[in-house]
Symmetry: C4
């Protein structure tokens, strides 16, 4: 059995989380140049251990899928599991390791395969219960967030075309197209401000100031939406004893009692 509320289940969670984090750190380390022999050996060992662990995990989950979907027959349950979002992430986490053994690939493809290993990060989502509330709030606020973010995107495009026409004569090499100006607009509206591109003319600075101030306002809108979402969530939690978590718990319990 896979995820009981027992001590074994908790140890399994922690071990898998640690393994995933070690994996991500080794993807970072793997990009270092002139690595000593010992490091690349360790890296390979970590890779093999994690692929084996993740494969066993995948097969176990596949095998016990009928406990996850109690109503359906084993074969249907397994098919339902394979098609679920987390199962696809699980599969993509281990596939890049097995693929080169089955079909020959060149070095370029191999590099992209290595990148796909990063998808293992998303496996962590399963083990973190605390993210559930954040996810729920974001999901509920999604329509308004998408709308306001699309307004920001449109504003950026308008700003970049305007700034291109204003600044192009003064610095033709930096504002060589509206796309270069778009990079500036993103940097100004998100208030990152790298300082590689900025307006130099008086009119350009005036537009740039307005954009920066609008940027502050437009950062305030998603923040406001999300804040209201969390306030609403807190109010609901005060009234009802958090049905969403309750529901998960009952599912787990039924799985454990089987």
């Amino acid at each position: 059995m896979d995820h009981p509320e027992t001590r074994a289940g908790q140890i399994f969670s922690v071990v898998m989380s640690v393994l995933i984090i070690i994996n991500v750190i080794f993807v970072l380390i793997g990009t270092l140049q002139n690595q000593p022999q010992a490091l690349s050996v360790t890296s390979s060992v970590v890779e093999i251990v994690s692929v084996v662990a993740f494969t066993i995990e995948y097969l176990l989950r596949f095998w016990t899928a009928d406990l996850r979907y109690p109503g359906s027959r084993p074969s249907v349950a397994r098919l339902r599991y394979v098609r679920s979002g987390m199962a696809i992430i699980d599969l993509l986490s281990i596939l890049p390791f097995y693929l080169p053994a089955v079909i020959p690939v060149d070095l370029r493809v191999l590099r992209i395969l290595r990148l796909i290993r990063l998808i293992r990060v998303f496996k962590l989502g399963r083990y973190s219960a605390g993210l559930a509330t954040v996810g729920r709030v974001l999901k509920r606020s999604a329509p308004m967030l998408v709308s306001s973010m699309s307004v920001v995107a449109l504003l950026m495009i308008v700003a970049s075309v305007l700034e291109y026409y204003v600044e192009n004569p003064a610095q033709p090499e930096k504002f060589d197209s509206a796309f270069a100006a778009l990079w500036w607009a993103v940097s100004a509206i998100t208030t990152v401000g790298y300082g590689d591109v900025f307006p130099v003319t008086v009119l350009g600075k005036l537009c740039g100031s307005v954009i920066a101030l609008l940027g502050v306002g437009l950062v305030a809108i998603p923040t406001g939406i999300i804040s209201a979402g969390f306030v609403e969530e807190a109010n609901r939690g005060a009234e009802a004893p958090q049905p969403a978590i309750h529901e998960v718990a009952s599912t787990e319990r039924s799985a454990a009692s089987t």
Copy 2:
């Protein structure tokens, strides 16, 4: 008939939205230098197709204005439509195409006319129902937002004059007037920080630090106002089943049933 809640109306919305987004992207592409022949031909085709589509849309809306304002006579309704905000945006979206054909214009004016095409972006507002809530919250918070933003503006001016007097002796070419210092103040208070102008003297850095910290606080004020607006909106929505959207829906239904 124009905007029924039917399937045809939905398809119309999506087609128009896609057309507008393609248009905006082609305004961006139009600023690229050394464009291949194929691209500029495509660009012209897109321009002609959209102007034709937008003209037909405008004429249809003009024609069916009496359905939009059920109480008034056709001629009055059409006049009311022409004077409405969205109709002016619709007209400005197509006018720059027809103008050069009617009266001869030089290249400089033509450039500005091209810029006006960007106004088509605002046509999207009509098709996005999700923005309604955001707009309503911003409208209700407007007086407080304007007040606090004007305080920020005044603070910026005071900061820039102070910083000009402090920094001018140390870097006379960068802080050559209070307007140059104003550009710095905008960059510091909005926390963009391009890095093209910054204080170098001890007193200037001290002032700059205070300004940056005030900037953080003053970003917090509009965010707080907007957050409170969304919380209020959510509370209202919990009590009454969102009257504003209901109202729009009933208007649309009555228009459709006519």
Copy 3:
């Protein structure tokens, strides 16, 4: 009589506000070099007109102080007015003009006197009713804001001393003392990021990353406090018909009816 709720009072408000804004703009313009003759003449005219207007305003307010404080005797009321915060700002706005006529001052003092003219900006506070709510919320949140800001200040000092010890060996000319590191810390925590000073060592970048992330969190705290303040204000407004504004209105009405 000074500020009735009549049409004359409203016109007076608008005229004074415009005069103050023109004044501030001319302080900005006054810092431009190589000004044409016409501009400096206009500047002097604006200065004389505003000083005359502000002096008349001050004398009128002084004269009608007994209407403002109905209970007290005229002489006591006038003394109370002179000691009020707005009256001191009013006096400081006009004093720098009269001072050089009374006592001889050198050029250096004259420059500081010119800066004091900027205090006229704060006269605007009187004419903007919209700022009342923002001011009230900030006043109520002040203890928590000051506490959290002082934590930020202490964190900055700790961060700068740490970063000084870490980065000093690598870039001794940029991190020459903890004060230079403090300038970096302000720039990092407020997320301005000019880019004139930044860590280059691995340990320095690690500390810098932690500081930047803490900065994000610490920007969130004042925003949260202010948001809660506005939500509370909105809730109060929904229950009682805004007593603070009501109170002001009744004071004004009683002043007008006298």
Copy 4:
């Protein structure tokens, strides 16, 4: 007796706070190079005075520990005090002064000991009652804050590996490993934007724009969580007359009455 609600207790609080702040400022000043003789003498005097004061404070607190924990016997109470968080900070504040006298240390260790003096800043926490609410809100929001911050951390790692693969061919010296890209990702997501590292390729800028926009969104999440925390705190405060502060006051009173 140590902290009565009497005038003597208040004076003690203020004197200790001022002493701590002077100490922190002298740690900053101590990093200045080419100090005049007078300054280093003052610095030594400040150090000796504060160590004496802090030692007396520590001993007094140790002695009166039985008043702090009324139920326990004197020896148990003193042990409980020594193990409390604030007592450890108190001890670490004075230990680095006495250590070199007892055991010989080399210059390198001495430097680290000097750094530990900065821990005195945290002694201030005891004297600031205003921080209690902020601390309480942060403590209650901690699980959600940690969850969302870990998502940001994971996003940063994914972003840096992606950006490394995209930008490495274009600027191999700046994006020499994923760790260099991680430094860029921190700078972009926190919207600091120093401008020492930034993408130059089209694909890199596209990824960078997405990261910057996600950064804005992910700054909004902790802000939203903390805002909701303060709103909840304000709602509780409105219902009950702030039990936490009441509790502290009653403890103090009982300590004073003993």
